[in-house]
Symmetry: C2
Subunit: 402 residues, 2 copies
């Protein structure tokens, strides 16, 4: 069985490496060897092993009927979209790690795959090497999915972990993450929450079997979290985590990406560094959690290659994923309910107490401030009640009011 | 699509309930409704809903060509083995939670399924509702599985959690577990490690794609763990967990079930109460963990029904699992290497230090004892070096020597 890899960046070279490293093991599972016939990249790689199969022209792959499975690991919307669509229309299964593309066009590409008796797989688009898409598709099928909440961005989790463990400020922790290769030179997509929002869009779409757009998910990053917030969190025996949240309740769907304070009654509390973890609540199975490396060359490649194996084993048929193209708008953010941890200037303590009632007061030794936790309230009510306060910062909380 | 349930005990009634509760949701996934045509049980259930489909005769199910999928949730080896075999030979897919049967006859029943164009599924046999069998079969196929280590028995994890959190002794914690329905009246299979050994046999067989018998896995339960051991563990910042272990190293396979002290650098440290968690290490993906309810009516039923859905979607074809019938004997226990935490009478301190070298000395305030941790040594060497000591207890350790 001949395969092709679109893109020889970090993930693409990982796919190449895993296919070589585990060739015999993989062949045992598929029943035949997966042979890399083409690698598409704009660059040349003189002297490298990959040179022998390198092409600069996608049509070489598209027009070669021997190629039945394509790994799209280029990233970005274009030309990944056009290439994926063309490959599927030619009956070639496509396996991708491209969350941007899946989030925007997943439902459509699944339909095209269905129409051409091939498959569109995207296990690596969420949680890197962690099996989460496939469990949602074929292991948790007996359950109505009530809620998914996860740490789906390793960069921000690394930064928050370092801020807590070493007392670093945000900028310092970000610089360290960049120095260690855990954050990109332009870190905006990670720290502003966009990467997590794309993954949330995919998870929420699968849980709801409909299209939930990234743009319809209220998204907050971690750039406003300071060392002072971490100090308060410690006092509250909490960790601040950037959470991907989606929930179905009474027929309504909610989704959000935001930093949330969680306590140790949630397993997510214990997820540190670049690791990812995704909790899924089903109406029969209860709470499950999937944990592992959410990024990285080989873990991500492992998921792409597992998809390629699945595609190879199902030549000529579609392994389907239920994901309707019809749009589902999550409920407005205003209707969601959280507790809020709030910091105001000390002189506004009375005003704050009058607005919110006296909640859990937190003294993290920060002078001239008043920090407290509210009861569960609607986002809209929070906005209304806090509009006359000089809120220094506020962070959603998940734990029970003491 | 007509289905049948063999056994209307805890899991069987759960399967019945999940199929009813999520009927429409399931139908959306399968493309048709799964209708329960028969439930087999020796007992009558007068006045209950199930009465309408109850039969006492397995032949009613076997001889009904409409029934394409059978849930075997009776437990025990006989007659579950005969029923499963007959159903598969009749081309009916079988989905089971029966770890005893899968551990002994899984490879054989998979072959029979293959020969009759149907499937044998056993997701619920390990980890209750946690998807672990399916990920091993179709998500982690790009990886060579290097190691699986897990907490696969909720009863013992509950007992160990209570001993640590409340300072209970073993008998007390067991009695509480029984009172809460977390341990059976006859708890031997759980507390002696047999249940965990069966699950380890299944996991090790899948990781090695060969038959590893339960009887060939060295198994130790938790009955010798005392409040004093827990006190020592606390001093060592460790938790004692009953671990299911299997490892491939340099072409050799190891397997064991035993209580092990682990520290917080392992996610398994944080798994409390009746929950299960299974870590899988692949040569590309690194460490993954799967966490959830390892037992219980609805979680286990959720896994069985997900298998039934998978079977229903693949009518007339086999969804295969690679598990060869040829036996693989794990390496002898003597060759495995651990650190050991050892307790000896105080007067044997010098003798112990002479035998093992001075390791990490642990003072848990227990009079007239000497407790210490050895370096990594082979099991055989431990036996030899400790043979002249009056070892009060010894527990394997996983953490690095300080």
């Amino acid at each position: 069985m001949k395969v092709a890899i679109l893109g020889y960046g970090t993930v693409g070279s990982g796919v190449y490496e895993v296919l070589k490293m585990n060739a015999d093991y993989i062949a045992q599972g598929v029943g035949e060897h997966l042979e890399i016939k083409y690698v598409l990249d704009l660059r040349d790689f003189p002297g490298q092993d990959v040179e022998k199969v390198l092409t600069h022209d996608f049509n070489d792959i598209l027009n070669d009927p021997e190629v039945r499975v394509v790994a799209e690991v280029m990233g970005g919307e274009h030309p990944a979209y056009e290439f994926s669509k063309a490959a599927l229309e030619a009956g070639k299964s496509v396996c991708t790690s491209n969350k941007e593309l899946v989030s925007k066009h997943g439902a459509e590409l699944l339909r095209i795959a269905r129409e051409h008796k091939c498959s569109y797989f995207f296990e690596a688009s969420v949680g890197g090497g962690i099996p989460i898409i496939r469990p949602l598709n074929n292991a948790l099928t007996a359950d109505e999915i009530l809620e998914i909440r996860g740490i789906v961005n390793g960069t921000t989790n690394y930064i928050l972990t370092r801020m807590r463990d070493v007392g670093m400020d945000f900028d310092e922790a970000l610089a360290e993450a960049q120095a260690n290769g855990y954050a990109e030179r332009n870190p905006a997509a990670d720290i502003e929450g966009l990467d997590a929002a794309r993954k949330t869009s995919i998870l929420a779409s699968l849980a709801n079997r409909a299209q939930i757009d990234c743009e319809d998910i209220y998204t907050e990053g971690i750039t406003k979290i300071t060392a002072a917030d971490i100090a308060y969190a410690k006092k509250l025996k909490a960790n601040i985590k950037l959470l991907s949240l989606t929930k179905r309740e009474a027929g309504k769907t909610y989704a959000m990406v935001a930093p949330v304070m969680i306590r140790s009654n949630s397993q997510l509390y214990f997820i540190n560094g670049v690791f990812n973890a995704i909790m899924v609540k089903g109406n029969a199975v209860g709470d499950l959690m999937f944990y592992g490396s959410g990024a990285g060359k080989l873990p991500t490649a492992s998921a792409v290659v597992a998809d390629m194996i699945q595609a190879a084993k199902h030549k000529g048929v579609t392994v389907d994923t239920i994901w309707d193209e019809k749009k589902l708008k999550p409920e407005p953010k205003d209707t969601m309910r959280f507790r809020f941890f709030i910091r105001v200037p000390a002189e506004e303590a009375d005003k704050a107490n009058k607005a919110f009632g006296i909640g859990e007061v937190v003294d993290a030794g920060i002078p001239s401030e008043y920090g407290f936790v509210t009861d569960y309230i609607r986002e809209a009510d929070f906005e209304e009640l806090s509009k006359d306060l000089h809120v220094i910062n506020r962070i959603r909380c998940d734990f029970k009011y003491k």
